[in-house]
Symmetry: C2
Subunit: 234 residues, 2 copies
Amino acid sequence: MIRALLFDVFGTCVDWRSSVAREVAAAAGSAAIDGVDGEAFADAWRARYQPQMETVRNGSRPWTDLDVLHREALDGVLAEQGLEALGDAERDALNRAWHRLDPWPDTREGLLRLRRRYVVAPVSNGHVALVVALARHGGLVWDTVLGAEPAQAYKPAPEAYLRSVATLRLTPEETMMVAAHASDLVAAAACGLRTAFVHRPTEHGPGQTTDLVAPAGVDVEAHDLIDLAGLLGA
Amino acid sequence: MIRALLFDVFGTCVDWRSSVAREVAAAAGSAAIDGVDGEAFADAWRARYQPQMETVRNGSRPWTDLDVLHREALDGVLAEQGLEALGDAERDALNRAWHRLDPWPDTREGLLRLRRRYVVAPVSNGHVALVVALARHGGLVWDTVLGAEPAQAYKPAPEAYLRSVATLRLTPEETMMVAAHASDLVAAAACGLRTAFVHRPTEHGPGQTTDLVAPAGVDVEAHDLIDLAGLLGA
């Protein structure tokens, strides 16, 4: 019997690409920097994410939160694209775009419905303060914020899932990971959690080629979080 | 400027004594054990709480959560009162009374109002799963659950406050501890937090003699959480 649902956040609950693209375009406009493609910039910024976290996962770097990693990646992308004109204060402000990502249209209602029946908690690679900010920005309600920071492990490391489950005093079998990404669900399933795949076919824009199909073996497959609520009887 | 409110839970947000007394009386009734005074039993159970936590705080015992401490205390009180007839399964069930404590009548509405303007998080000595259960039982909404377990320190140890503040990426001065107990507020103030005293003059029953008056130096003094919301402009 499922008691708790654990949620990936970036891409599954919030539309990071559109939100970041909008803020990049606005920041470039304010700084009178022309020729910036917000979507392409968001993709380039996000592309540095997994390699950065890998340096923490493999132990070559001590625990470092996403505010720091996002800022380093921002500096890298600005340098790469010849946009060093953006000042330090403007970079700090733009970096906070990751605290203001809009939820997908179904997220708020879906979570409210699911919380009636299940404990709902994010298991994100974002730190607690960032995920709290996203929830307040998007009107989301969680029972508590779990994930990489409390577990001191970035997904898909097993500790990220298992420490979250242990904090809830549940077994992996009583817990379901909800994500739009096969890599997250495969890792959660390897830890014994149930899995739900949520289709987010435009997370990476209209030309998305990844995660268009549920990975083999998922327990549930849903079009969005409202659909998931229906499928899970909430 | 205050950005987040941190809440004591037992006594400040929930009425542990009435709730536990009711469940003790019910458990005694079901087991056909006569002559049990629910309120007196609740008081005796709770009286073991600070000495137990002190063994963790002073390092003579490793980190131990409240489910374990409550159960050990329950066994002690049952032995003391000659009530060993209560079976193991019944003891486990009664121990969970601490997961089902009713909120004070103003808590739900007060927190909802306060959350509109401030980050709200419990900083309780209860572990995350227990505090999540209390919130779901009472219809409370938190931004996230902080406190003794994530900090690995029982209040009034400074780490319980300072690690909670750090998790929110705030300074102590941006944070206000809300509690019905002088000891909690004095310890929080010593860490640099602002403080709000909430009057709970019947937490310990009609004959309460402690915490009837706000400690010197608190920033705010409120009759209940709805009053606090008004005082803090929420």
